[in-house]
Amino acid sequence: MAALHFHNVTLGYDRHPAVHHLNGEVARGALVAVIGPNGAGKSTLLRGIVGILRPLDGSIHLGGLDSRDIAYLPQSAEIDRSFPISVFDFVGTGLWRGTGLFGGIGKAARGKILRAIASVGLNGFENRPIGTLSGGQMQRVLFARVLLQDASLIVLDEPFNAIDSKTTTDLLALVKHWHGEGRTVLAALHDMEMVRNHFTETLVLARGPVAWGPTVEVLTPENLLVAMRMCEAFDDSAAACAADDTRSRAA
């Protein structure tokens, strides 16, 4: 049973494709790394999966999942860190699916929130305003919220950028824990060592899919070189995609 099914997906902005004609499936419980150079369309693909960006063409099936069964950790979260909200309350928003607009935060929920904060190593930070946290601490807070969302599909966009090795190790352990619980995890990453050592499946992306499969087979110097070369700039005068034409003529 696939958790995600891409059918000829093209995602982009202003008709310019950033991810071109992607087909394939992500099996339920898979641990997938999405790699590729800057501008390869990694973030765009993840935004498409969580439904913030509608595909220009093709479709993404969530295998019966509601969009609320997805926990999404964006790369540069548009978080207003100056807003007066405590770590406890911020992490608590991860319970939205259970509480909705009015649901109270009872004793059980409070316990859950505290455990989530503790499991990312932020004991004692509950009452700190989020504006006082360091970058790494904020990333831990965001992971705690993902933890509370209890989602079956977890989408992480470059979660270890600008994060020190201790924090990375801690948070990576959490990712593997989620994998162990049978959740599907997709992560956009840059650290090839990490991908090789910890992720079973890899998608090499460069506007279009370069290779997709078990990490050991896919993560080759040749594929990475191809990916490096394929990232060209948008062409403002580009014609409508010919691949679509042939496809529709065939159909």
Binding site: S67, P74, A77, D80, F83, P84, I85, T99, F102
Partner: protein, 289 residues
């Protein structure tokens, strides 16, 4: 003596009691809205909305004279139209909300001025512009209290999505569709409270009793709930002190309220516990950890 100055006017004159009641109602509803306007970096949006409702109120006035219901209805229609159009355009295109709001409120203002100048002007329009809190009749007071009640109820309903949308809009979008409606409801509350304030303070100063208390609160707390409470108290205190000031001197009531709030604001900027200037200059010795 002190009693005569501070309490006397309210015991002696009914219009002072009504004015005080109105100011407290305005503070209870307007100040929390002001806090959210400030935190969402929309302080000037409140100001723009005040301009947007002005032509609606003027048209109401031209059609049925100095009738608060007609003026309120006109103001609400103009305000909602501008707020919703601006919100919809901002959400369905990439245009930032402030840019789209600027367009619509200027259009609304131009339209209003055109209508007024064609139909002829009237001195009573000054009343709309600057308000007169000392001329509250029963009906007006009830409308003000009703609007304040509605505001607090709606705010209670949209509080959670509003907070989350202010901190992390992208997150709210991924878990819920409540963000858009909550934002529009919030804009509607802004309009309601501006209209509410214009009998008391006039269209131009109405936004003052929302924004200034919020600015004051921001210098005394880092906690949202506490901030809202401080803002309400600051607004009510400014209202009360402004009324006393206006009664004892010749300062008109609306400006008196706002001037008192301004004094509180300056004191907060200087001596506030959170980021006040004096506190920054003399922070005390640094801590151990």
């Amino acid at each position: 003596m002190l009693y005569d100055t501070l309490v006397g006017p309210f015991i002696e004159f009914e219009f002072m009691r009504r004015a005080l009641a109105a100011v407290i109602a305005l503070s209870l509803a307007g100040a929390p809205i002001g806090v959210f306007l400030m935190l969402r970096r929309m302080s000037l949006v409140g100001d723009a909305m005040a301009h947007a409702i002005l032509p609606g109120a003027a048209v109401g006035f031209l059609l049925s004279g100095l009738n608060l219901f007609a003026m309120t209805a006109g103001g609400l229609i103009a305000g909602f139209a501008v707020a919703i159009l601006a919100g919809v355009v901002a959400r369905s295109t990439g245009l930032k909300e402030d840019a789209s709001l600027a367009t619509f409120y200027l259009a609304s203002l131009a339209l209003g001025v055109t209508i007024v100048s064609i139909k002829g002007t009237n001195i009573d329009l000054l009343h709309v512009l600057f308000g007169n809190i000392l001329a509250m009749d029963d009906q007006t007071l009830l409308v003000v209290a009703f609007n304040a009640t509605v505001t607090l109820l709606v705010l209670a309903v949209i509080y959670r999505p509003l907070v989350i949308e202010s901190v992390d809009p992208l997150f709210l979008r991924t878990v819920s569709r409540a963000g858009g409606p909550a934002h529009l409801a919030f804009l509607a509350l802004v309009v309601i409270n501006l209209v509410n304030g214009f009998q008391a303070l006039g269209t131009l100063l109405a936004v003052g009793l929302m924004i200034l208390p919020a600015g004051i609160a921001r210098f005394w707390s880092r906690d949202l709930t506490v901030m809202i409470c401080i803002a309400v108290v600051a607004a009510a205190a400014s209202g009360y002190a402004g009324l006393v000031l206006s009664f004892q001197t010749r300062v008109p009531s609306g400006p008196a309220v706002i001037l008192v709030a301004t004094v509180l604001y300056i004191v907060s900027v200087l001596f506030g516990r959170v980021g006040g200037i004096v506190r920054q200059m003399f922070p005390g010795r640094h801590l151990e950890a």
